[in-house]
């Protein structure tokens, strides 16, 4: 079981839920995020991660581990963070 934590703007789009539990069957970060009720706000219409999204697995930036293909073996927490931007 992996816990997924999303920012407040996404939680508001998921009836207020900020934490989700994803079944262990999810092999990659992409699998886990596609199972969320806000998956359409994380992936564009071509199935790619939205550009200004940061995703961490147990504190490690997934960009260093293949992005959506990052394996979830032994992972406990996925944290989705909107990129910091001004304005």
């Amino acid at each position: 079981m992996v816990h997924v934590i999303v920012p407040s703007v996404l939680a508001a789009q998921a009836e207020g839920r900020q934490r989700f539990e994803v079944a262990a069957a999810a092999e990659t970060v992409g699998d886990a995020l596609r199972a969320l009720p806000v998956a359409d706000l994380l992936f564009n219409e071509r199935g790619e991660w939205n550009r200004y999204l940061n995703v961490y697995v147990d504190g490690t930036d997934t960009r260093e581990r293949g992005g959506p293909a990052c394996p979830l073996t032994g992972a406990r927490e996925i944290r989705v963070i909107a990129m910091i931007a001004g304005g």
Binding site: V9, A12, Q13, D40, L41, E45, R46, M83, A85
Partner: protein, 354 residues
């Protein structure tokens, strides 16, 4: 009864409720907190609120609420066919269909695409006639993108529709959207080598008069125009009494086809009130003459009003500024109904029961 203003801002949707006199207002919001609400409207057929809501990180969405904005449901993700090589950049304008087609809505979006829904906004299908238009390679984006921001359905013939595209111009269909014809004759494009091209006009807002549907009005990048023949030809109207030909919004009086209102800005290079004199200009003679309506507006003011940020509800006028003020006309005098909102992107006004 009172009036309900749906004010879309860069940071969410505000509901402003005013009394009959339009002098006392209460604000609720932000709803859809954190989303840029490019346009929000109430479907008069069933009371559903729709919002074109966009987010830098989470992308374009259409959101709908059946309970006056308390809860929202997202439409299925907007998408374009992979073969088009295009993806949806932003949702711009939602236009409910005619009373005789319940459940049908239209959505204008960036990059110059039109969607239709026949299930009350749950899902949207792109219009292929617009997507594959043979002139598309001559369309180009404005500062806000390549967007369809104006969708007008002829109330007497739902097969006849119009869209306004920045920057491609006005297009008309007479077969329910299968084919589209550019209708930009005599509409100038000052910034292209050819002054009157077939397409490439930067229409900022296009409206059809519901009681005289062959009459169209547009505020464009290069002038204010009226057509009395479904867009086949256009007359330029900004020579008599307007301080500038440039501006974004236009409003019409649903009771009087000869009446229209614009909010001029200095020029294409300087998007603010000419000489610091914020004013709405109205014509009651089809655009032959224009008169300033500024009583109650702040002076001086260098305001900018975006294309969707004004409304006429049949009784009065309303507009919002990029500096976060919302004004309502109350018995001939403008009232600042709200201030210090985030930048106002859109305004729609409906009657509501107090």
């Amino acid at each position: 009864m009172g009036v309900l203003g749906l004010v879309g801002t860069r940071k969410g949707l505000f509901l402003l409720r005013g009394d009959d006199a339009r002098r006392t207002w209460q604000a609720e919001g932000p709803l859809l907190d954190g989303w840029g609400v490019y346009h929000a409207t109430v479907d008069a057929r069933d009371g559903t609120v729709y919002a074109a809501a966009n987010h830098l990180v989470y992308g374009p969405t259409v959101q709908r609420s059946a309970d006056g904005g308390k809860t929202w449901q997202r439409s299925k993700q907007l998408s374009l066919p992979e073969w088009s090589g295009l993806t949806v950049n932003a949702a711009w304008h939602i236009e409910p269909g005619l009373p005789q087609e319940p459940g049908t809505l239209y959505l204008g979006a960036d990059p110059g695409v039109l969607f239709r829904s026949d299930d009350h906004g749950k899902t949207w299908e792109p219009n292929l006639g617009i997507l594959e238009h043979h002139t598309r390679d001559r369309w180009y984006p404005g500062a806000g993108g390549l967007c369809i921001h104006s969708i007008q359905v002829d109330p007497g013939d739902r097969r006849r529709m119009y869209v306004g595209i920045t920057a491609a111009g006005t297009f008309r269909t007479e077969d329910g959207g299968q084919t589209w014809m550019p209708v930009n004759q005599n509409v100038a494009v000052d910034h292209l080598p050819e002054l009157y091209p077939e397409v490439g006009q930067c229409v900022h807002k296009l409206l059809l008069h519901p009681a005289r549907p062959e009459r169209l009005w547009q505020q464009g990048h290069c002038g204010v125009y009226r057509s009395d023949d479904c867009g086949d030809s256009w007359d330029r109207l900004d020579g008599n009494g307007l301080p500038s030909s440039f501006g974004f919004p236009i409003m019409i009086d649903p009771k009087d086809p000869d009446t229209a209102f614009v909010i001029p800005e200095k020029s294409p290079e300087y998007h603010y009130s000419p000489d610091g004199q914020l004013a709405v200009y109205g014509t009651r003679d089809s655009g032959q003459t224009w008169e300033s309506m500024s009583d109650g507006l702040p002076r001086p003011a260098w305001a900018a009003v975006l294309r969707e940020a004004s409304a006429f509800d049949g009784d009065s006028l309303y507009f919002g500024t990029q500096s976060g003020s919302f004004f309502a006309l109350a018995n001939g005098t403008w009232v600042e109904a709200a201030r210090h909102l985030p930048p106002v992107l859109s305004v729609e006004v409906r009657q509501w029961s107090t």
